[in-house]
Amino acid sequence: MKFGVVVFPGSNCDYDCYYVIKRVIGESVDFIWHKSSNLKGYDCIVLPGGFSYGDYLRTGAIARFSPIMKEVIEFSKNGGLVIGICNGFQVLLEAGLLPGAMRKNRDLLFICRYVYVRVENSDTPFTRLFHKGQVLHIPVAHFEGNYYIDPQSLSRLKMNSQVVFRYCSKDGEVADEFNPNGSVYAIAGICNERGNVLGMMPHPERCSESILGSEDGKLIWQSIVKSINERLAKE
C-alpha cells in the first residue's frame, strides 16, 4: 500500500503528513510534486495544508489547475481515496470534487487552536474506526474555513450522509459558540457522494501522537489503511 502526499508551491503541512504516515502509521509514502502527472501505484492521495500559490486570487484557486490535479480527479473517479486537509480541502472545493466554497472566518481572524469535532458519519473509508457521535480533540489553523453551501445543496449533503465532521463542544454538543469560523451547519469536514474523497479543515496529522497533546487524528490514517488493505485483499 502506498500513500502520496502532493506538494504545491506553498504547501507547508506536507512533511507532517509524510512523517505521520511513515513513522507513526508505518506505511509507505512519497512526496508528489504538483507538476507530476502520474499517480500510478498509489492507493491514497493526500492534499496537505498550507498556502498553495500564496492563496492568491482565492485559496486553492490556482493549485486546482496544477498538472497533478487532473490526475487526482481521474484517480478519484476510479475510486481512489483522496483526503484534503485545510488548504487541501480548499483545493478540492475549487476543483469541484466536493461541493461548496470557503469564505473568510466569521471573526476575520486566523484561528490556530485545538477545537472539538463530532464524527457524523463513521461509515466512510476515512472514519470507520470511530463510532458515530465520537468527539475528537483536533487542531485547526486557517483564515478561510467558513464553509458555505446553499440550503438546497446542504439538504442533499445531509440526506447522503456527506457531512463527516461538525464543530462541537467537549461533550459533543453542536452550538454556535463552539463553531470557530461560522461554517454553515458547523461543518468541519465533508465527503463526496461516493465517499472516497474527504475534505476537512482540522489537521489530523498534527494530533497523531500523544506527545502533541492528542492522538485522535491517528484513527483517520488507520481507517484509511484498513480500508485499503481490505480492498487490496479482495483484488
Partner: protein, 83 residues
C-alpha cells in the same frame, strides 16, 4: 489593445464579514447613513484582441474557469479600448 475591468463581489445572501467590519469602521468614524458595505475584488486585464465579440466570450470563459468562484461570487466587467 483592450483594458478589461472586472469587478468580483460576493453573491447576495452570502455573508460578508469583511464588508460588515468595514461598515462598522465607517460607523465608528462618524459617517452617518452607511446602510451596507459589500467587499469585492477589482482586476484589470489587458488583452490584445481585435474582435470585441470574441473578447467577451474569452473574458466570460476566464471568469467562469478561474477568476470567479460561482458558488459564492458574481462578476461584471467593462471593456475599454486603450493604446
Amino acid at each position: 489593445m483592450f483594458k478589461v475591468k472586472i469587478y468580483i463581489s460576493l453573491k447576495e445572501g452570502v455573508a460578508d464579514p469583511q464588508g460588515i467590519t468595514i461598515k462598522n469602521a465607517l460607523d465608528s468614524l462618524g459617517y452617518s447613513g452607511v446602510e451596507r458595505v459589500r467587499y469585492g475584488k477589482y482586476l484589470q486585464v489587458y488583452l490584445k484582441n481585435s474582435d470585441k465579440k470574441k473578447l467577451q466570450k474569452k473574458i466570460d470563459d476566464m471568469c467562469k474557469k478561474i477568476l470567479v468562484n460561482p458558488v459564492i461570487e458574481s462578476y461584471e466587467y467593462e471593456i475599454e479600448e486603450v493604446k
